[in-house]
């Protein structure tokens, strides 16, 4: 197996796993249907990019126009990306998550995703519009030459560390009394209030923590692909992640990881195979059919197995009565 191909696969898998863990926290555990998830990954990527890139004049006049350009060293851009994801979650959450019914929240977030993409595409001087940001410097590029094999190992290692870190945090949150409160709020918000839970605070927390992790995943991805444009974060990208959560299993981290491997990564690989196979299909048919398949997958699982491949496990406490 080609090293570059393998590294690419592993890094994308890592990013998808991290994204799914965040979305699971928001959707699977806390019941927030965040249809704008991809925007948070995007804000992390853009932030990491403009923090690590040089001033836009450096590229020659008018090649790309963007704000920032502070050329900060790793890991500051990544921290910036994570923070940006969390910061964005604050106003969005405060507007959407407070008094709206669940389906209105979902469509408000969906529409936000569409509009955000439109605005960034049209406002060129901000983040270079439709063309996006290119030549984003990869982390530690001056220490290790990014075009060599050792760099690939380095980035894969970095990704693995990132996944472990996120898993550690998410695991602690989900499998704790706090996670239990989040799940109770998901089950029946009014009853949760009757026992003293503050639903707005719980939702905002899940939304912000999820936003931080989403932003972090964006920084991780942009450091590798060195490019970021509106075409990368169109609103349907969120739906792939939702499909992953629905397929893999809601409300638990193992299900989220499983979903990430089955759906975004799995589909990526199948597309690659189909594109390379000499089937003589016109261009654009395979990605379109891919989306159809995602839709069918979602509907199929919601119909036959809404809990996913690995459902939320039942919590059993030690010292209880024997279970047969």
């Amino acid at each position: 197996m080609n090293l570059y191909y393998g590294a690419n696969l592993l890094i994308y898998a890592g990013v998808d796993i991290i994204a799914c863990l965040a979305l699971n926290l928001q959707f699977g555990v806390s019941g927030i249907v965040n249809f704008s998830f991809i925007v948070f990954q995007a804000v992390g990527a853009y932030t990491a990019a403009v923090l690590s890139m040089p001033n836009d004049k450096a590229f020659g006049y008018d090649f790309q126009l963007y704000v920032g350009g502070y050329q900060l060293p790793f890991p500051i851009p990544w921290i910036g990306g994570a923070v940006a994801g969390g910061l964005l979650a604050v106003p969005v959450g405060l507007v959407v998550l407070r008094k709206l019914r669940a389906d209105y929240q979902a469509i408000a977030l969906l529409v936000t995703s569409v509009i955000a993409n439109t605005v960034i595409t049209n406002a060129r001087p901000f983040l270079n519009g439709a063309a996006g940001l290119a030549l984003v410097p990869p982390p530690l590029a001056d220490q290790i030459d990014p075009n060599t094999a050792p760099y690939q190992y380095f980035y894969v290692g970095l990704t693995i560390l990132a996944v472990v870190l996120v898993l550690f945090v998410v695991n602690r949150v989900v499998n704790s009394p706090y996670g239990r409160s989040l799940r109770a709020m998901r089950e029946r918000e009014i009853a949760a209030m009757a026992i003293g839970k503050n639903p707005v605070r719980l939702k905002m927390t899940a939304f912000i923590v999820g936003g931080v992790i989403a932003g972090f995943s964006g920084a991780l991805l942009v450091g590798f692909i060195q490019f970021w444009a509106p075409s990368v974060w169109l609103y349907p990208e969120t739906i792939i992640l939702f499909a992953a959560i629905i397929v893999g299993g809601r409300g638990n981290n193992v299900g989220a990881i499983l979903g990430a491997l089955l759906v975004p990564v799995g589909f990526e690989e199948v597309t690659r195979l189909l594109n390379n196979a000499p089937l003589g299909l016109p261009a654009g048919v395979v990605p379109a059919l891919e989306w159809v398949a995602i839709g069918l997958l979602i509907m199929g699982f919601l119909w036959f197995r809404p809990d996913g491949v690995r459902p939320e496990p039942r919590r059993v406490f030690e010292g209880g009565p024997d279970i047969e």
Binding site: V169, S181, E187, M193, P321
Partner: protein
Amino acid sequence: MSEGSTTARDHQPLLVAKDVHRHFEGMRAVDGVSIEVPRGQITGLIGPNGAGKSTFMAVLAGTLPATSGTIVFDGRDITRLPPFMRARTGLVRPFQLPSEFARLTVLENLLVAAQDNRGDSLFGALMGKRYWIEDERRLVKQARVLLKRFGMTAKESDYAGTMSGGQKRLVEIMRALMLKPRLLLLDEPMSGVHPKIVEEIQYYLQDLRSEGITILMVEHELHMVERLCDSVVVMAQGKVIGSGTMASLRKQPEIVDAYLVG
């Protein structure tokens, strides 16, 4: 604090509602209700359908805002307090049907109600298991005592959503008890429940009273009210038309005519 003032406080009503109004779309569902709920007793709230009893309970719980009036709970004005804060101060309204957490186990349903678990915050969760495991173990024990008392030990690891109607009621009572409530607002706790469980619930309510928990209960079955309630408030058309013991109320012809049949 001298002996005298402690006793005096004990005689103060736990909840005082003064001239509470709840108007909505031209309807005066609650039209100037003032009541005092005595500490450590079971007080009934009775009246014909449409009298505004459930609306009044909702205003007390905070799920509906009062149009005007004040509500004072143990000396503290809670009129503007949101419902989840009222629950935290000890004013609990269970039985807002349906209200079990279906995909949590029975034991988890109880645990989630506890107020004093260090792991029940983002910070606590991030600190890790060792930080909150002590609290968790203590609460599990506490919950298991309740489960045993209400005869549901065998069901502790079953999903609450799979319980029968009567069992769900018991889960709700137990959950309310984990909150260490001081005042329980019960809106027809016996309705729609199997007669056998009705008996049990009555015993539990009396047990709760003997533990010092105050109860305000809306109830239609008058013989139940007779058996359980120390005193009763009668509402009709959004107003209070009488209060006192059932015996004293029976002596008032207007009330008998308005509501008490038999």
